[in-house]
């Protein structure tokens, strides 16, 4: 097939940037990475990108295609080429570019190191053999332990774009990998550390990390679980935690968010006094409802029922959030399976049933 690509080239030594177009002939099964290899071999040997395993496990080849982070080795080009689309390939976002599609990953790894990414065994001696832990308890961190550290989530993180010091989705998912591990004995210290400035409450819940993660890790889900665990441990002094708590209280009592109380409940009375002038301005323009009488939703009992339900589930902390387990198995391919699922594994048009040599056809059971 004929594949055309536009690649953002960057020469760090000269500081020059250029969008260059390449056209190559590639086999039908080629991935984006295969296409880059063909460009490098046959067209321009100076093109730089990282690669290694080409099977979605080493995490080297994160880059952007048409502005969204992808693993080059996972991205099949057939449909794109057939549609006549010319994708724009560029380096990942939120990280400094070294050359072409290669970014400096050191800021990424620095944040991983900042979450103390190793098991803290505490003082309990597991003895000579393994810890005995039920698989169901390990399932809590199944998803987080799939992370290949490719950086696709960090590339897309909106919060990090405005606050480069935000710990970010990959590091927090790594943090959840330990908080959720029953063998780790530093849960409270971790939750305190991750709940501070630039921590879990700085996530804006844009869900870009969830959308772009190529392995189904869903860092946003991990961050939500860290929040749930922090609340359960009573680690809620951060403004973000107070903010979240007020949302809940407000929704429970009146069914609506009471904005005028949100600021003092989050920032404290003293600090919010400074905002009074600004608040009055908002009030005058009709941007916030008058605080008295409190605005009560028509069907407030529904909001309260919802609150009770969430509270019941939330008593289990992270374990109450069930989204995402068995992530890899469900990844992208869900359960619909298309045509194959309709006919089933042995339906009409399926591959023949297996048999042992000499086995009678009538005896062939699966």
């Amino acid at each position: 097939m004929q594949v055309a690509l536009k690649i953002w080239r960057f020469d760090a030594q000269k500081g020059e940037r250029a969008l260059k177009e390449y056209e190559i002939d590639a086999p039908g099964e080629a991935t984006l990475l295969d296409c880059l290899d063909i460009v490098k071999d046959r067209v321009d040997g100076t093109l730089a990108y990282r690669k290694s395993c080409r099977m979605m496990i080493c995490g080297s080849c994160g880059m952007r295609m048409d502005g969204a982070a992808v693993l080059a080795c996972k991205t099949r080009m057939y449909e794109i080429a057939e549609a006549g689309h010319v994708p724009v390939i560029s380096a990942m976002g939120n990280l400094p570019i070294v050359k072409d599609l290669v970014v400096d990953m050191e800021p990424f790894w620095g944040k991983i190191r900042a979450v103390s990414p190793w098991l803290e065994p505490g003082y309990v001696d597991p003895g000579e053999k393994e810890h005995v832990v039920a698989q169901t308890r390990m399932d809590v961190i199944h998803k987080e332990s799939l992370c290949i550290m490719c950086g696709c989530c960090v590339s897309e993180c909106n919060s990090m774009e405005s606050d480069p010091d935000f710990l970010g989705p990959a590091a927090l998912a790594k943090g959840m990998r330990f908080v959720g591990d029953p063998r780790d004995q530093a849960t409270v210290e971790r939750l305190q550390s991750y709940s501070g400035e630039h921590g879990i409450w700085d996530c804006t819940r844009c869900y870009f990390c969830q959308e772009r993660c190529p392995k189904g890790v869903d860092p946003r889900d991990a961050i939500a679980k860290l929040g749930a665990e922090a609340m359960r441990e009573g680690i809620d002094s951060d403004m973000g935690a107070k903010h979240a708590k007020w949302f809940v209280t407000s929704a429970k009592t009146t069914g609506w968010l009471r904005e005028t109380e949100l600021v003092p409940k989050t920032q404290g009375i003293a600090k919010s006094m400074k905002e009074v002038k600004f608040a009055m301005g908002l009030l005058k323009k009709g941007k916030v409802p008058p605080p008295f009488p409190p605005h009560v939703a028509k069907h407030v009992e529904e909001a309260r029922a919802l609150y009770d339900l969430v509270k019941h589930d939330g008593e289990q902390g992270a374990a109450g959030i069930v989204q995402g387990e068995k992530a890899l198995g469900r990844l992208e391919h869900h359960d619909d399976g298309g045509e194959a699922a309709e006919r089933g594994p042995y339906g009409p048009g399926s591959f023949v049933k297996p048999y042992l040599p000499g086995e009678e056809e009538s005896a062939r059971e699966v």
């Binding site: 020469d11 030594q13 490098k40 046959r42 321009d44 040997g45 100076t46 730089a48 690669k51 290694s52 395993c53 080409r54 099977m55 979605m56 496990i57 080493c58 995490g59 080297s60 996972k74 099949r76 070294v98 050359k99 790894w109 190191r113 990414p117 190793w118 065994p121 597991p126 053999k129 393994e130 810890h131 005995v132 832990v133 698989q135 390990m138 199944h142 332990s145 799939l146 290949i148 591990d181 063998r183 780790d184 068995k326 890899l328 198995g329 990844l331 399976g337 194959a340 699922a341 006919r343 594994p345 042995y346 399926s350 591959f351 023949v352 297996p354 048999y355 042992l356 040599p357 699966v366």
Partner: protein
Amino acid sequence: MNAMHDVVVVGAGCAGMRAAIEAFDTGANVGVVSKLHPTRSHSGAAEGGINAALGNAAEDSPEKHAFDTVKGSDYLGDQDAIEILTNEAPGDIYQLEHWGCVFSRNDEGKLAQRPFGAAGSPRTVYSADITGHVLIHVLYEQTMKRAAQGPLRVYEEFFAWRLAIEDGRCVGVICWDLVNGGLKLVTGRSVVLATGGMGRIYRATTNAYACNGDGMAMALRAGLPLKDMEFMQFHPTTLYPSGVLITEGCRGEGGYLINRDGERFMARYAPNALELASRDVVSRSETTEIEGGRGVNGSVFLDLRHLGAERILTRLPGSRELAMTFAGVDPIYDPIPVRPGAHYHMGGVATDNWGATEVEGLYAAGEVACVSVHGANRLGGNSLMETITFGRRAGQAAAEHALATTPGAVSEAPLADAERDLRALLDRKDGERPWKIRDELGASMLENFGVFRYGERMEKQLGIINGLRERYENVVVEDKGDVFNTDLTGAIELGYMLDLAWAMVQAGIAREESRGAHSRPADFPDRDDERFLKHSITRWTDDGPELSDQEVRMTKWQPEVRSY
């Protein structure tokens, strides 16, 4: 910049990081040099599991594990080394678990174990089908922990090019700094090679682009002996067409191998073990089926349909993802097209049971090394175990050596030589680009030095390699810059592979028998213990590789007829 350490580890996969951790814990100042970030290393792509006789799934013992390994090696494995591996494996696994490794659990909450090829008991510890991934991440976690505590430094994206050997002692390694450019000498009183394998010599391989035999080639050129170079393992289930690995765990979980008619053909080749015969046997059977016209597109099929969706989703989710992404096949509904592909090299830098090589101060562990625990054919699940157990031993021995010796003299001469050679390569303006030579090497090795080998085809291959080596003399690097110049490192890697291919084929021609992965059905179809129950040893000379041999170390087991 010249950096100084007690121990320098080259390569940061499972063996390298395990060696670095042990060297650090022994009290050494450690530097780790790796051309990739550690977690990008190819150990992370291992899928099915790691073997240790824990006895969690059925009765088992290190002795049974040792016997299975000896038999699997077609009696070429060194039995003292194999016993060390199988005796020390359980302790090493428990330590990984204590470090936080995310292994799968059985109903009792202990480490789960699954059946694997040619194993008499289910002894493969695993984490779904991403065992290498969880291992490499737990080792990196422990590496980061130590780096935060003391003198352990990782030089990421440092491409090791040459060993610095002075007065018969290895004193460091000369590296090309990929990110910033420039040659740097990282010195140590001990050096541990842990650079992995060289599957990229073949066109069809499970191996990553990084697996070019760097360490083996560096050692060969430095005058060290390589052992058992003719033994390249072909894994029976590599995905068509991309060649990526589909784990043996699929068959361990009960998967079938079928030909185009749906026949479970392994019943005709290994009536007892069927799909769980050893890898050399299964790869030969598949090749016979395909050559006999009972395949499709040069492939047979791995059928998991009868396992059902639940088992596939919980035990083999990664394999399903690979099959869906690269072959468009959902194994819940359709069989996966697979064929044999180059996977693991049994041979390598000859070491003793502590990883020590012939040169003082130089150690090796993992796929780059040949202790030998795998002999002529490796059992699935034994290589990850080897990286941990022998990585640990090499790390300890290297640290003890370093702490007991004074630093040797380090001259600037090797660095100056390297600088001059590098400039010569970069300054060449006219010549051939490396990719064509690389592709021709891969295709011809697969054709002439694959699952089955024939005298005349091997001779022909030697001629092809010599021709490619001549062309390589004029290879041209297009990127002349200092920053992330993978055009340069790619050309150097091709040079490594050409040296090693020569050594492999020459050793293959000399071994006039069929043993393990070296099979000569036409001229020497049988094992010949009389003449060839011995290791081949290859050394570099000015005229090319020179062969000799070495005794196999035996303890309890005498060679028997090997069938499955």
